[in-house]
């Protein structure tokens, strides 16, 4: 199942012809007779959203918001030192809020606008022409209200930029995170979302499988986080001074909220309350369960204690890996994917990272980037019907892996280049990094004038 995002809403005013030309199979009006001719289709009553699907998608959209605040804010916040708790959570909340505003101004138009090519689209800026009657296509002949589709996609943009900030916490100026958010969304996120999820997008046309955002969200966020961490530099004292997580309790709470919200993220990506959403739901349970346990098992095998943070990290690795595969894998393929992602991410974060000279403070790359790549490539394997996936009998795994690999490589290149540009613009405008005294005192008191704990 691929995500077909038809930009054009079928409105009663005669835009229907254009819409039908864009995505003809998806647009048969439900009440039309099978024999209806194309001419008749243009005059047919516009498709009306099914209230069940609308209700499901509204719920899914709000669940994705739950992933950001409080989910990601608590998950990341608990991992920082107590003097940077508010700063970490505020950066996430404010970046997400800015992303929402940018999305309705020009983000939706650049990603899913009515005009465009395989790399970018345009039109519908400031949501021009969208009304409560506007609809967006799903993968079948159903439609959902366009405002819901816009909101759902908005939350994806918001969480992706918030994820990136995990690598730069405890030292980046608040103003710099805002400038970065604005530029990065515009030159990195919107084009990649268009290329992967929009019906004309280059990777969509190639047939890249990305159910809920393995490339667009996780590889994109992870690679951007890595580049941003390199440009920003290490935290003062890293890696010689201890920088222990200040509250793994809150990290565990955040992990749970992320897991719950992820059902909206994954199942909602089916765009309808149907069997595909159901498959995404069960996979989001079992891949995650496997991820949490296999991270802890790996710790034991390496001679350590199975840890709470290990469980949380494995849960996130499993969720990341199953994101592109949610509706593209059978449950047992998803279990393998979650387990493999947890083991690979463990070795990257615990062993490889220490040998590399950068400070990805909260392992945004180590888990979202690495786990995202495992998931994106793995989806090309577990899609196979031989492994219980939903692929057709003619599924060609080798060809699919080439497609998946090229989408991954292209995402890495665009993310890396775009992030460098966004970081240097933020540097020119804000100075990027707090001074040493501010960093030692903590960003909570210096940047926000508050303390998390009094």
């Amino acid at each position: 199942m691929k995500r077909i995002l038809c930009n054009a809403a079928m409105q009663a005013t005669g835009l229907a012809i254009g819409a039908v030309m864009l995505a003809a199979p998806a647009f048969a009006a439900p009440m039309a007779e099978a024999a209806a001719a194309a001419a008749a289709a243009a005059e047919a009553a516009p498709a009306v959203p099914n209230p069940g699907n609308n209700g499901f998608m509204m719920t899914a959209t709000v669940l994705v918001l739950l992933m950001i605040v409080p989910g990601l804010a608590l998950f990341y916040g608990g991992l920082t030192r107590s003097k940077n708790m508010l700063s970490t959570m505020t950066q996430i909340g404010a970046a997400a809020a800015l992303a929402m505003l940018v999305w309705v101004m020009w983000g939706y138009g650049l990603a899913f606008g009515p005009e465009g090519n395989e790399y970018i689209s345009w039109g519908k800026f400031f949501l021009a022409g969208v009304t409560p009657d506007s609809t967006a296509a799903t993968f079948t002949d159903e439609v959902i209200s366009e405002y819901i589709f816009i909101s759902f996609q908005m939350t994806f943009a918001a969480i992706t930029v918030a994820l990136v900030l995990g690598s730069v916490v405890e030292r980046m100026k608040f103003a710099a995170t805002m400038v970065f958010t604005l530029v990065w969304l515009t030159i990195v996120y919107f084009p990649i979302a268009h290329m992967v999820w929009e019906a004309r997008g280059v990777f969509f046309v190639m047939g890249a499988l990305d159910f809920a955002g393995g490339t667009v969200v996780h590889i994109n966020a992870g690679v951007s986080a890595l580049v941003a961490a390199y440009i920003l530099g290490k935290r003062k004292g890293y890696p010689t001074e201890p920088m222990m997580p200040h509250s793994l309790t809150l990290t565990m709470v955040g992990t749970g909220l992320l897991w719950v919200g992820w059902f909206g993220f994954n199942a909602g990506s089916a765009l309808e309350a149907n069997g595909s959403a159901a498959l995404a739901m069960i996979n989001t349970f079992v891949a995650t369960a496997a991820g949490g346990l296999f991270w802890m098992l790996t710790e034991r095998v390496m001679g350590h204690k199975g840890s709470a943070l290990g469980f949380c990290s494995g849960v996130i690795a499993g969720l990341v890996a199953v994101t592109p595969a949610a509706g593209n894998s059978g449950p047992f393929g998803a279990i393998v994917l979650g387990a493999v992602a947890a083991v690979v991410c463990y070795f990257f974060v615990a062993k490889v990272k220490a040998k590399l000279d950068y400070d990805d403070a909260l392992d945004a790359f180590g888990i979202h980037g690495v786990g995202g790549m495992v998931g994106a490539i793995g989806t090309g394997i577990v899609f196979s019907p031989a492994l219980g996936g939903p692929g057709g009998e003619d599924f060609d795994m080798a060809a699919q892996l080439v497609t998946q690999g090229s989408a991954v490589v292209a995402t890495i290149v665009i993310s890396a280049v775009g992030t460098a540009i966004a970081m240097y613009i933020a540097k020119a405008l804000t100075g990027l990094r707090v001074d040493e005294e501010t960093e030692v005192n903590g960003l909570d008191i210096s940047e926000h004038g508050e303390r998390a704990y009094n």
């Binding site: 840890s307 943070l309 062993k351």
Partner: protein, 112 residues
């Protein structure tokens, strides 16, 4: 009068307190402390980043006792807090010059 300071393992606090009540000790002061001795520290690992802490949490008891009971107090703590492992702690005994009960102004052993 003697002033007895005992550093013990935190999990032994309740049994030591009970044993001391049993021999007639009517009050003591407890503080959570950190320190190091022969017991090696513990290692904490967060996503592969290892931090060894060489300060371990202990509990410090402070007890004022009359001369005739002081030896028994030391004996009781030693017997009760003993696990046989390194890190069980230490007991120090100091001479106590005076003691005053704030409410009544009594001083000396009657204030204990």
């Amino acid at each position: 009068m003697k002033f007895i300071i005992a550093i013990i393992k935190p999990f032994k606090l309740d049994s030591v307190r009970e044993a001391l009540s049993g021999i007639g000790i009517a009050g003591l002061t407890v503080t959570e402390v950190k320190g190091f001795g022969r017991q090696k520290g513990q290692t904490e690992i967060y996503r592969g980043a290892e931090y060894s802490t060489n300060m371990l949490p202990k509990v410090k008891l402070e007890i004022a006792a009359s001369d005739d009971i002081a030896a028994q107090v030391v004996e009781t703590i030693q017997a009760t807090a003993n696990t046989g492992a390194i890190g069980d702690g230490k007991i120090f005994v100091l001479d106590l010059a005076s003691a005053t009960r704030i409410r009544t102004g009594e001083s000396g052993e009657t204030a204990l």
